[in-house]
Amino acid sequence: MIKKIVLLAAALTAGLGLIGCSHQSQQKASPGGKVLKIGFLYVGPKDDFGYNQSHAEGAAEIAQLPNVKIVEQENVPETVDVEKAMEGMIVQDGVSVIFATSFGYWDHVLKVALKYPNVKFFHCGGLYQADKDPPNVYSYFGYIEEGQYLNGIAAGYASKTGKLGFIAAKPIPQVLENINAFTLGARSVNPKATTTVVFTGGWSMPTQEANAANSLIDKGIDVITMHVDSPKVIVQTCEQRGVFVAGYHADQSSLAPKEYLTGAIWNWGAVYKTIVADIQAGKDPSHFIRGGMKDGFVKMAPFGPGVSATAKTKIESVLGKMMKGEFVIFKGPLKDNTGKVVIPAGTSEVQTDPVLEKMNYLVQGVIGSTGM
């Protein structure tokens, strides 16, 4: 009994091992060289109509550049697996630059970066601290809350009930910033607007997202936006139930021709191009790469039929200010939804202020709580 299993497993292992060892010599990493080999890691599928797709589209843009070759791996979970994946790309594929596009990769990036000081690691969304983190790690992100603010304006005008909805994965700072920006944008045109938040507990949970959308709509909410990895289900549900929706991550207007208002979209291609150009020119990129509308990191989707002329004018005017770097979303006096003052009067937290990346409150007008 035992022997059969043992021998069977041994045979297979040996078989694979023989093949493996005999091919060993072909897999040495090539150091330096003219071609820049870049690795991309995605937490989900590349064509999810959302977060991962936005990165993959950016990757595809730089793959076109001369002397650049990319290697991609998708569905890499935010566990130790990603460390092995990154190491695999370095050791087996010879990459010298890695883009770890998902949030949850941060701790793993820090660990692997210590082992490979000659490889540059770019992490999307991490909070790089110069005194603590390795010098070959860089974090990049976009101020997409500017887009959510504009979504909020569109929602504020489009909503008849003044009740808005936000479907989010988990109450982490970047998500809270989006919820707050959306609400502030809506209340800038309708001071009585409210945003009801539903947390699904995970970044990609289609049934819960559909349930959340339906529950919100059942309560009279007539505009919904979201912060989940793939907004597809929510956008489709809204279209089907005749409720407005503002998109996120990528352009979902083709899924909801009637109800799609506009959307906050990433423009990673621009970001990646700049980074690659820096590296190829021998420059050390910034460790804390951030940008908003002004820098072309994020943009808005084209307007749908539900956006009135008044709304368009207002959005374009605020967008204009953002483009000049003159618009501050988070400024005092600002209270959270328990009544506590979170930004005192006279204080402005500009987009680049790192304190925003530690946000832990929901502003007045948001129905829901961050705690569990």
């Binding site: 009994m1 069977l8 991609e72 087996q92 941060w106 982490i172 700072p173 832990n360």
Partner: protein, 351 residues
């Protein structure tokens, strides 16, 4: 090692081997056909699986790091299986074990050094043992099917884990990936010298050898296996039988829990959602592929670890979806089961 080799020599049966190797070959051939239908080179993919698993020192370490926890999580299915139960809730025990280590480890004074580490790991074993023990108790005293209940317990464990980790037990510093407080460095498990593989590998090997010894060389194990192979004869053992069943579940759960704790102490250092990586579920696969035999687990864990390690490499090299490896694992599992039909010797086997 000597005993194992002697055992091997004593029990060779040609027809059985032939069928098993044939099954492996069949799985490989089916997989190759599958790949050809997708327009991919089967030879290239299989070669990459070999390279990715065993083709370099990096690959080997990758494989061993993955195999180490599988040795323990497989026991969570294997040990109760000796008594005739099918437990598939390993992942739940793993999660709660990891959580227990995180919580205790972060609360004890770092000066306790290795004692703190051992206590934290013990807590992991207790948590996992309790959880699966519940499934065993449910079966013995309420007639609740332990296969289903152990799986349902996984769903409950996951929900509770997330609730605690992202709520009351959350480290306020862990903003973007809500986690528990990290273990102090005095409690961390180090790697085996010269490698990136941690000492958990040795724990796993020891556990498998111990399991073999207990079940095949002691009276207790003999009694336990009686309960598994013959219900009526087992019934004559009375209360002892219930204790054996619950005990086996608890020990199996303790193994999976311990594996989770080791993962925290050696690799993750704190508990968060990323702990749910399917290692518990892979343990089920290893146990079944090894036909519930502890010594076979040693090699099968290596094989499955290698398969999983090669996944990323295969994906990148051939532009294949990561699900490719699951398909192969499934085919392998199915083939091995099918080969069971050709076994000649009369020992056990359920219908």
């Amino acid at each position: 090692m000597v005993t194992a080799a002697a055992l091997l020599k004593r029990n060779v049966s040609k027809t059985g081997i032939g069928a098993q190797l044939g099954a492996i070959l069949a799985a490989v051939v089916l997989f190759a056909v599958f790949l050809v239908l997708q327009g991919k080179s089967p030879w290239g993919v299989l070669a990459d699986m070999g390279i990715g698993a065993f083709g370099s020192s990096f690959a080997w370490q990758n494989t061993l790091v993955r195999a180490a926890p599988l040795l323990l999580t497989a026991l969570c299915t294997l040990i109760p299986a000796q008594l005739g139960l099918v437990i598939i809730g390993n992942e739940g025990a793993w999660l709660l074990g990891g959580l227990a280590t995180s919580v205790l480890g972060a609360s004890l004074p770092p000066s306790w050094g290795i004692g703190g580490l051992l206590l934290s790991l013990a807590a992991a074993a207790v948590a996992g043992g309790f959880w699966i023990g519940l499934a065993g108790a449910g079966r013995q005293w309420r007639g609740v099917d332990p296969t289903i209940s152990s799986l349902l317990l996984y769903y409950v464990a996951w929900g509770v884990f997330l609730f605690l980790v992202e709520g009351p037990l959350r480290d306020p510093q862990s903003l973007n990936e809500p986690s528990t407080f990290p273990l102090p460095k005095e409690f961390l498990m180090s790697s085996l010298p010269g490698t990136s593989v941690h000492a958990g590998l040795l724990v796993g090997i020891a556990a498998c050898l111990l399991a073999w010894f207990v079940f095949f060389r002691t009276r207790l194990g003999f009694d336990a296996r009686i309960v598994g192979e013959n219900e009526r004869l087992g019934a004559t053992l009375g209360l002892r039988r219930s204790l054996l069943v619950v005990g086996a579940c608890a020990v199996g759960g303790a193994c999976a829990g311990l594996a989770g704790g080791i993962q925290i102490a050696a690799i993750n250092h704190a508990s968060n959602a990323s702990l749910n990586a399917g290692v518990g579920f892979s343990g089920i696969l290893v146990a079944f592929l090894a036909r519930q035999r502890p010594l076979a687990v040693l090699l099968v864990a290596l094989l499955v670890g290698g398969l999983q390690a090669s996944g990323g490499f295969v994906q990148r090299d051939h532009n294949l979806p990561d699900a490719t490896i699951s398909v192969f694992q499934g085919l392998l599992f199915l083939s091995v089961l099918w080969a069971e039909a050709f076994r000649r010797d009369p020992s056990g086997g359920n219908k």
